[in-house]
Symmetry: C2
Subunit: 367 residues, 2 copies
């Protein structure tokens, strides 16, 4: 189990630089660090002066390893695993004649494969800290939001299918098919329980990890440029929608924090000096304690069952940018081009919302 750290900010404000500095600082303190970048993001290799980085981690200084995620390479590797999984459930697998080297990368696969790699590196036990240098902050948030959104889709559509006329009509046909071609899976209950519950478990585990600031946290990066500040604010709010804790703010190449600090209360704001000719030390010695800051940061969601209240931390948004809707048992928050279906405790689940107000960056929902 590792501590996973990522940096969010407008393009060109120094996310990759901060990621490298953090990796150098933490490995210098004796932690085993993996710095994970993307093939399309060339900065990592160039700034580290390393060529030929691959999906296989390479130790470049003591305790500091670097790898880059290449979606096409990862797809090739995962395809073998898909085929193996298939043979577990199908007596006559049909993907056997499709080769990993043929598969093109569709949008979204980058994120899915990236998250899958993160999970594997995390559970390898080889790293105390994994620093993820995403190729774009919006994509990073989509990636971390994926387990929650996907598990919702899975539960919701499984139920829809089971309750539908189509599901009922197909069920009697699926049973003989299952008996003919399927090996272990229990399709007879109509909910295809085995493969799905495996996915459920993995997704639930992912959701818990991302929501836990001891395991995953982000730090914002900005410069003094108003557009960079505005973007960091937007990403701060959007991170809450992905259930990702934001520990603080780094202001790149600026010693004047006053104008920036006001935008990010109550987060700690630190200044990051420019990189000098001598190397990274001027940066590494100015870095905060990321793990400590993350533990002190506001939680994305707090539930008070006694008060029948849910508080969502949504900084950086105005009331008009946040939309709350309730359809049947589903309570949905839309903000920052993300939509989140709230998982409520049994006591509040399916209860009607009686009020909602926006206060000090919190959306407070009463039942």
């Amino acid at each position: 189990m590792s501590f996973i750290l990522t940096f969010l900010g407008k393009g060109g404000t120094g996310c990759t630089t901060a990621a490298i500095a953090a990796a150098k600082a933490l490995s210098g303190q004796g932690q085993r660090v993996l710095l994970l970048g993307h093939e399309a993001e060339l900065g990592l290799g160039l700034l580290l002066d390393e060529t030929g980085l691959t999906t296989q981690p390479r130790e470049i200084t003591p305790k500091l390893s670097v790898a880059i995620l290449s979606a096409s390479m990862l797809l090739e590797q995962s395809w073998d695993q898909v085929k193996q999984l298939e043979t577990q459930y199908l007596r006559t697998p049909f993907f056997k004649n499709v080769f990993g080297q043929e598969l093109g990368v569709l949008p979204g696969l980058d994120s899915a494969l990236g998250l899958y790699s993160l999970k594997n590196f995390d559970s390898s036990g080889l790293y105390d800290v994994i620093i993820y240098d995403g190729y774009h902050s919006a994509a990073t948030l989509r990636m971390f939001g994926m387990p929650e959104v996907l598990s919702w889709y899975l539960r919701r559509f499984r139920q829809v299918f089971a309750e539908s006329d189509l599901g009922k009509a197909v069920a009697p046909f699926l049973q003989p098919v299952a008996a003919t071609v399927l090996n272990n899976a229990d399709w007879t209950s109509g909910n295809f329980s085995q493969p799905f519950s495996m996915a459920d478990g993995e997704l639930g585990e992912g959701q818990r990890a991302i929501a836990d600031p001891r395991r995953v946290a982000a730090y914002l990066i900005t410069t003094e440029d108003p557009l960079a500040i505005k973007t960091a604010e937007y990403l701060w709010g959007s991170a809450q929608q992905a259930n990702l804790t934001v520990g603080g703010v780094l202001v790149n190449q600026s010693a004047v924090l006053g104008s920036v600090e006001a935008h990010f209360t109550p987060l700690p704001v630190h200044s990051l000096p420019a990189r000098t000719e001598e190397g990274w030390q001027s940066l590494t010695q100015h870095l905060p304690n990321f793990q400590q800051d993350a533990l002190k940061a506001p939680k994305p969601m707090t539930v008070d069952v006694a008060q029948r209240q849910v508080k969502l931390f949504l900084p950086g948004f105005t009331k008009s940018q946040v939309q709350l809707t309730q359809y049947g048992p589903e309570l949905t928050i839309a903000a920052g081009d993300q939509r989140r279906n709230l998982f409520l405790p049994q006591e509040l689940k399916g209860q009607k919302v009686t009020g909602a107000k926006f206060q000090d960056g919190y959306l407070i929902i009463s039942f």
Copy 2:
């Protein structure tokens, strides 16, 4: 039918600035222009000083409209269309109780919905030029590569399924199911022809449009920063893998082109001055003729049937970064974290590759 233009470059080098300048210049020349951004990319609204931009285009100056793509908003809108489409094929649709407002955005949906919007704006006939300001160049290339990759998946897996034991075993069961619950679709031939051939048609149309420099083209943006130049070079090569024509290069905030030009032969390289207090005019008057440049640019792929040769333009890559594989009838090129399955004319299809060499940025394959 519109001319679709996009800018590719490292984050923070001025893609959005160039997109706005191009939109202002072309609308000033009397063309009807739509400038399309992303919700997560706040630069567009802030640089234009416009608030509350939505997916619905707003005319901000004569002939210049602006809209932003919000994946969650588009998902909501498209969901109604999915439900309508479903009722065409299923007598008892089962998505009817799932509401657009509930659906979370998964990675990849942004790109799919963005491309779908582009297609609709393109076919609306309302715009001579659409300028697409993607939120990240790698994501833009994934998006434009999507019709080609998706159509390959569709053809390949349809064939795999039809030829598989599972496909053969399921076929007799599908027929009565089809008779029970399906309305129009012809499932009896075993290739589910109707819904699939509709998708085939749309994807084929998309592929042709993207490959046609009269309809879609990109322009590179860089500064004098070596990392920005390197990124632009990489994107140049990657664009070829998505079959997207790159017309030229803009060097942002620099009048010295010498050091940059050498990297991008034979493309024209233009200098873009900094934006002044007076507004955008200093920029707009320095812009090249994007449409003309695109027509003169090297084609991503040229086939010479008589010589039994295929030439792929892959600038910015070295030989070791390009991988060619042949499995059965499939010929695959991997480069720039993209993989492309070549569509060959009948004469060369399925023929064995006898040689391949890398020359002046071209991969030349002989059969």
